[in-house]
């Protein structure tokens, strides 16, 4: 605990509390574009294997979509990237995940400090039962950053919510509609200015109009952030993503390529069957 606090106080830019040399090979292979890279990533929940040897390199400032049938490990993969799986006692992780060349599962990496670099938006909108203002300010508050009205406004504007809520910032976040709540969660995630925004099926609980607003928003977010999004909706993946990764049952990454290639000319027959709706 005290170690965490000291990281907050110093507001250090590094995730690492002691000195660790970045993995030079990973860096040279991906220098400008790759931000997150996994190698032979295996995840087990007790005896069940949720991810099977996933190796992937995710480019910076692009939208990467993860698609696949239910239970194929997409969300598990996403939660590996900000070490949210650490919170599950029975989860066991094998392999490496690097963020800008740094192995995030290294002992010297503080998972709390890591999560401060990575925003996350969940499937069900989960604003805190606090005011809209406090919701957006939450990340700044726990990370010990200065809370200013300008920063809150900027985050809400980036989440395309400012015009709808600017007169009711003191109202509870729970009083907003589902779509507004989800955009509030996005504003909350980007307020502390993370490097990456993870989205776990952010539109599946929303109506089509609210969903399309979020899709437009993702288009704009990608100018400043790297977005990794899990989705069940293949049209959505085709519309918004630059890269698409297809997971199939058993936690296997079957194919990963440009979105156009995946949807127009997939290499693997199973992927073609899945995206044309023959199974899954």
């Amino acid at each position: 605990m005290s170690q965490n606090e000291s990281t907050i106080d110093s507001e250090s830019e590094s995730l690492i509390t002691t000195d660790v040399q970045p993995d030079t090979t990973a860096e040279s292979a991906s220098s400008a574009t790759t931000i997150v890279e996994t190698e032979q990533l295996n995840v087990y929940y007790g005896d069940d294997q949720a991810l099977d040897d996933v190796s992937i390199a995710i480019p910076e400032n692009q939208v990467t979509a993860l698609i696949g049938p239910s239970g194929c490990g997409k969300s598990t993969f996403l939660r590996c990237l900000n070490r949210m799986n650490d919170l599950i006692d029975i989860a066991r992780i094998d392999g490496t995940v690097t963020l800008r060349g740094i192995d995030i599962y290294d002992d010297a990496v503080d998972p709390v400090a890591l999560r401060r670099k990575i925003g996350m938006v969940f499937q069900k909108p989960n604003p805190f039962p606090k005011s809209i203002y406090d919701n957006v300010a939450y990340g700044l508050k726990v990370q010990g950053k200065e809370i200013t009205d300008e920063r809150i406004e900027e985050a809400l504007r980036s989440a395309a919510l400012w015009d709808e809520v600017k007169d009711q910032l003191d109202q509870s976040g729970l009083e907003l509609s589902g779509g507004q709540q989800q955009r509030l969660c996005i504003a909350r995630a980007i307020a502390p200015d993370p490097d990456i925004v993870l989205m776990d099926e952010p539109t599946s609980a929303l109506d089509p109009v609210a969903a399309s607003k979020i899709e437009d928003l993702i288009d704009e977010l990608v100018e400043d952030y790297t977005v990794i999004i899990v989705t069940h909706n293949m049209q959505q993946a085709a519309r918004i993503s630059d890269q698409t990764a297809v997971f199939l049952t058993g936690g296997e990454l079957v194919e990963y390529d440009d979105t156009t290639t995946i949807f127009e000319n997939p290499a693997d027959d199973r992927v073609e069957d899945y995206i044309t709706g023959k199974f899954g």
Partner: protein, 587 residues
């Protein structure tokens, strides 16, 4: 309807026989329970207020001067013709039904002891009608204003009484010094540093406060002359209360117009208590009760003055006027008054061997002091244990197994008879730790242990019911475990934790067996002077009286004690529920 038959609709019918039987059985079970409880309460109230000796003329007088105007006010504030007709029908029809039914039962079946049809009417018809019109009227602006004011008056007085009783066991000169040299400077430092945003306000204020505390304890040894209790209360309670009330008004109202008014009236209330201090009400208590009542009312009035329901504020005057008018009529006409046991004198005097002089004051004070300690102890311990078990303790491995073992044992402890806890308290606190036999501290610790399992389990439920989504959201924002617990879990779980603690406190306040085990006195003649002194509690005193040979004790005095116990319990629960609802609304 109940059985499957062929009908010409072509759909047939589905049997609901078993469902219907089950529905009525459940209804029957709840009705039996409620009726048994209602009958018990009615008899206790009848005994406590001596209603069985009340003449019909006395009942009629107060019914006309107090109950009828009250119902009239409520109906006026509702101003709904259909509802008024319904209420009138219930009152009138209820009168006929009760009179006829009661007489029929008495002549044909059995005579009902201790009741007349008038009293039965009072409880079976008048009380429910009053409750329902009160409920409906409190949702109208007019009624809401009136009930709000009455509530603030009663609540302020109750709070003032509770604080006054707490101060019985506090060394007043020491409190005076601690407030002057510790609390006040610490508050000043906190306000100044947090407004100027310099340094760490909490840390600096704590430091100043601790320094003041040290200075005060030293000074207490040296100084010999102190202001009177009344002046101490005026300076340490009434003045800050006035400032706080004024600050609350500026915060909510924004205008500074009313601030001075609130502050001045509160101080006047405190000063008034000083002046009015009589033998029945010691000056110090008068200051506290007066200031608390006036502050609560003044803050409310400032807010309510702008509302449309201003006329509703007449309600307390209507009630007071009705009571006075009733008393005047009874006096002038010469109607015999019933022999009441629960009177102001009963609450302010010591126990006696004569039923007419018996009082519950030392036991009430003892109970309230103990319950205050139990509330703090069990809430802190219960919430602490629950948060650890739910948020920190691991689910797997050795720690997980240990946690499960603790979990099972907590559930078992909740079922251990209270006598056993009494033995534990006797052995551990009274003997081993030397806190003394029958002292308030020993009792409070024993009762805290007794209800700890209940508070832990209910606090755990509350923590568990916080949606995991919120925790995940907090962790994903880079919050540490402590930040998540502090900012998300505790605020969300607080109403549930409070509910559990309130229910558990209800059990603690009525416990007798563990108090007997730790050697608490059944009867003491003065209020406890401190937490280390011997005490008696309400259930102990009631239990002792129930064994007296005289019938007046067994019926009148005991009933009055039971009603007092219930009222204190209700007041306590009511306060806690109001606080809880406030918290829920803030979310």
């Amino acid at each position: 309807m109940a059985v499957e038959t062929d009908t010409d609709t072509g759909f047939g019918e589905v049997s609901r026989l078993r469902g219907t039987v089950f529905e009525y059985l459940s209804l029957g079970a709840s009705v039996v329970g409620l009726f048994a409880l209602a009958a018990l309460l009615i008899y206790v109230f009848v005994d406590a207020f001596g209603l069985s000796t009340a003449s019909p003329a006395w009942l009629l007088t107060y019914f006309l001067t107090l109950v009828v105007p009250y119902i009239g006010f409520c109906l006026y504030s509702i101003s709904d013709r259909a509802f008024t007709r319904k209420i009138a029908l219930a009152l009138g029809g209820g009168l006929v039904v009760t009179a006829v039914g009661f007489t029929a039962i008495e002549t044909l079946l059995v005579s009902i002891p201790g009741l007349t049809w008038q009293i039965a009417y009072l409880f079976l018809v008048a009380t429910p009608v009053v409750a329902s019109v009160t409920f409906v009227a409190s949702r109208q602006p007019l009624g809401a204003a009136g009930f709000g004011l009455v509530g603030r008056l009663v609540g302020g007085a109750a709070l003032g009484c509770a604080v006054a009783i707490m101060f019985i066991v506090i060394d007043r000169p020491l409190w005076f010094l601690v407030y002057t040299f510790g609390v006040l400077p610490a508050g000043g430092v906190y306000a100044y540093t947090s407004r100027r945003e310099i340094g760490w306000p909490t840390a600096q204020a704590t430091l100043v406060g601790l320094f003041g505390l040290g200075v005060s304890t030293q000074l207490r040894q040296i100084l010999g002359i102190y202001p009177s209790d009344g002046l101490i209360y005026l300076w340490t309670l009434a003045v800050p209360l006035a400032a706080g009330a004024a600050a609350l008004v500026t915060l909510r109202d924004g205008s500074r117009r009313a601030v001075a008014g609130v502050a001045v009236t509160t101080l006047l209330g405190g000063g008034g208590g000083f002046v009015l201090g009589s033998s029945a009400l010691p000056t110090g208590s008068g200051v506290i009760i007066g200031a608390a009542t006036v502050a609560a009312t003044a803050v409310y009035l400032v807010e309510a003055v702008d509302n449309e329901g201003r006329r509703g504020l007449l309600l307390p005057l209507l009630i007071a006027g009705g009571a006075l008018a009733g008393a005047a009529v009874v006096q002038t006409v010469g109607i015999p008054t019933p022999e009441m046991w629960l009177t102001p004198a009963y609450l302010t005097s010591a126990p006696s061997n004569e039923a007419a002089n018996a009082g519950l004051y030392p036991a009430v004070v003892g109970s309230i002091i103990i319950i205050a300690m139990v509330a703090v102890l069990s809430f802190v311990l219960g919430v602490g244990a629950a948060v650890f078990l739910e948020e920190y303790a691991a689910d797997t491995g050795l720690v997980g197994r240990l946690t499960r073992l603790i979990q099972i044992n907590i559930a078992n402890l909740a079922a251990v008879p209270s006598v056993v806890y009494g033995l534990l308290g006797l052995g551990l606190f009274a003997n081993l730790l030397g806190f003394g036999f029958g002292t308030a501290v020993t009792a409070a610790l024993t009762l805290s242990l007794l209800i700890l399992p209940i508070t832990v389990i209910s606090a755990q439920e509350a923590v568990r019911s916080v949606p995991d989504d919120l925790r995940q959201g907090s962790y994903a924002m880079g919050a540490t475990r402590w930040q998540t617990v502090k900012n998300v879990v505790l605020p969300e779980a607080m109403p549930g934790m409070l509910t559990g603690t309130i229910l558990a406190l209800g059990r603690a306040i009525g416990e007798t067996a563990p108090l007997i085990m730790i050697g608490a006195a059944t009867t003491v003649f003065s209020a406890p002077a401190g937490i280390w002194s011997r005490f008696s509690a309400m259930p102990m005193q009631i239990y002792a009286w129930a064994n007296y040979p005289q019938a007046e004790f067994r019926y009148g005095v005991v009933a009055a004690g039971v009603v007092t116990l219930l009222i204190v319990l209700l007041a306590m629960n009511g306060t806690a529920i109001i606080i809880r609802n406030r918290m829920e609304r803030e979310h």
